[in-house]
């Protein structure tokens, strides 16, 4: 689908370095927020709220890029664009892809936790 890596190890290492003791907290916050966002995206599709969908995807994109999950970020961008264009069929497909990619990222991230 795209060739971006699941996790940018270099970025994560730098983040670990910067965050020090807060790193674990950060990962936990990210994981919790992301699960919530996935449900939020599904709800937005259910109510056909394109703006809410696009905004949630945009926000999810930002945090995923920052945490060092570029492929998830790219999927979020795709979702954001679908939301802006009111393409709900495609949106549902992208959310499935996001959920599967997130599972993968989450498992890998948990390995970084102390």
């Amino acid at each position: 689908m795209n060739d971006k890596p699941h996790l940018d190890e270099e970025a994560l290492t730098e983040l670990q370095d910067v965050m020090e003791d807060e790193f674990d907290t950060l990962i936990e916050i990210y994981l919790k927020d992301s699960s919530e966002r996935i449900s939020y995206l599904r709800d937005a599709i259910g109510t056909s709220d394109a703006d809410a969908f696009a905004n949630a995807a945009h926000s999810f994109k930002g945090s995923s890029i920052n945490i060092g999950a570029p492929q998830l970020g790219a999927l979020c961008l795709k979702a954001e664009e679908a939301g802006k264009d009111n393409r709900f069929d495609e949106a549902a497909e992208v959310v499935d892809a996001i959920e599967s990619e997130f599972q993968h990222v989450a498992q890998t991230l948990k390995r970084f936790l102390a």
Partner: protein, 583 residues
Amino acid sequence: MTRENDALRILIADDNDSDRLILKTLMKHLGHQVRAAANGSEAVAIFADYQADIVLLDVLMPVMDGITAARKIKDMAGEEWVPVIFLTSLTDASALARCLDAGGDDFLTKPYNKVIIQAKLGAFNRMRQMHQTLSQQRDLISERNRQLLEEQQLAKRVFDNIAHTGCLDADNIRYHVSPMSIFNGDILFACPRPAGGMHVLIGDFTGHGLPAAIGALPIAEIFYGMTSMGFSGSDVLREINDKLVRILPIGMFCCAAMIQADFQLNQLRIWNGGLPDGVLFRKGGGRDLVISRHLPLGVLNASRFDAAMEVFHTSAGDSLLMMTDGVLEVENEEAEHYGEARLKHALDTAPDAETPIDTLLGAIRSFTGEQSGQDDLTLVSLDMVVASQFHEAAERLPQSALKGPAQWYCVYEVRDDTLAQFNPLPLLLHICMEVPGLRRKSADIYTLLSELYTNALEHGVLDLSSDLKTSPDGFSYYYTERDRRLENVTGHFIRFTLTHSTTRAGGQLAITCEDSGRGFDHNCQVTPGTRVDSYSPETKYSGRGLLLMQKLGHSLRYLEYGSRAEIVYDWELAIKQPGIGHE
């Protein structure tokens, strides 16, 4: 204002918990103070009491987006510059540009990079400090400027009190001075003379502003002081020149003209040092030029300074116009000077009904067009009037509340070659003016003293016959002979004895003037039955003096063949204001 070592107060707003945590931690790592908000509205609330140096805002946030928050924060910061940096995962160029259009100063893209963030904060901090320095210096300059203006206003008040305009408001004077600058270096003073008539001084200092104004102060002091004491125009000029030579730096001087107007003699005596030609308009048409024949005041030292004034015989209705360089130098939009040729043309083609000063001002105004802001003009015109129409300003003086000397007596004698060099009248007048009640009568007293002195000197000591003055040729012979004889005076004196006492109504001043001459036939000088009012230029000049004295004094007696004259002058406390000739 600047906190030590670049530690900044930073405000972050991001609705994304993980992103906010990353940024906050990153900033703390870099040694800055951080406050964080989850949306734009919270950020604005925090900014109200947290003086952030730099604000970082996510663009898309619930409740209030970053762009609205940025606008509010910029408003709240007022004059202070608070950089706003937008946080964004936007990637297309036009979306990034919109952030800056909306009032942002820069943007940071995700993922955050520690090195780039550090560099940007450093750059913004330098700009912020520069802005602060600029603002402080601007405030400092504007404060200094305000102080300067305030000081100038204060100085102007003092200046106006000393260098007041004197009797410029007299009916026979018209003038224009520049309203543009507090101190433009031009001066214009007028002061009535105790013997009647007036002095007018118009001048233009090199330079502008405070230095020029400072030079004007002693001039005003000397001009008003000496004129009121009865000194001649030449005496005043000599004193002013001497003062300016001593106080002005080299290269600074004052182009000026002194005008001594005598309405009794119908005479103008004018000294022009460096001003443009004055113009004397004759009543019947025709003009005489009053050319500058001297260097400006403040250039030559006393031994080389020539205070001789040029004499113009006039009649009532003649009018003198004098001006400063500003008139010739005024520029139009093409930066051309007004110049002498245009001035002459304007006066040549002037309508009859208009006064020359109005003609000239009108012509200059149409020459400069809209550039009236450069007005640096000083002009004065003085009309010769019938003597009786010129009211003495001294009569209008308020009566002094001080009790001066009332009962006194003094003798003052001038001897030998001092008679040729020194005029004792101002000193004698000064002594009399110590009596408060006499101050309003300075014109009368001066006239009495000067007539007594002139008679004693010319007819007594110098033994000149006033018969000489009946013909125009004799008139000039008389004065040539006077100067010649003055140079050779030896063994002579003129002695004044002044006695003042109080009376029920006011006071009495008795003046005795004795001289060492062999006397003169004073009876020939007064034509019996001639009324003073019918005096005309055809009557004998010397006769006028005696008649005037008789009119002013209570009694006039000549004794010892005319070498001793006694006159008694009565004055009353002013309840109403009696003028000259009251009985």
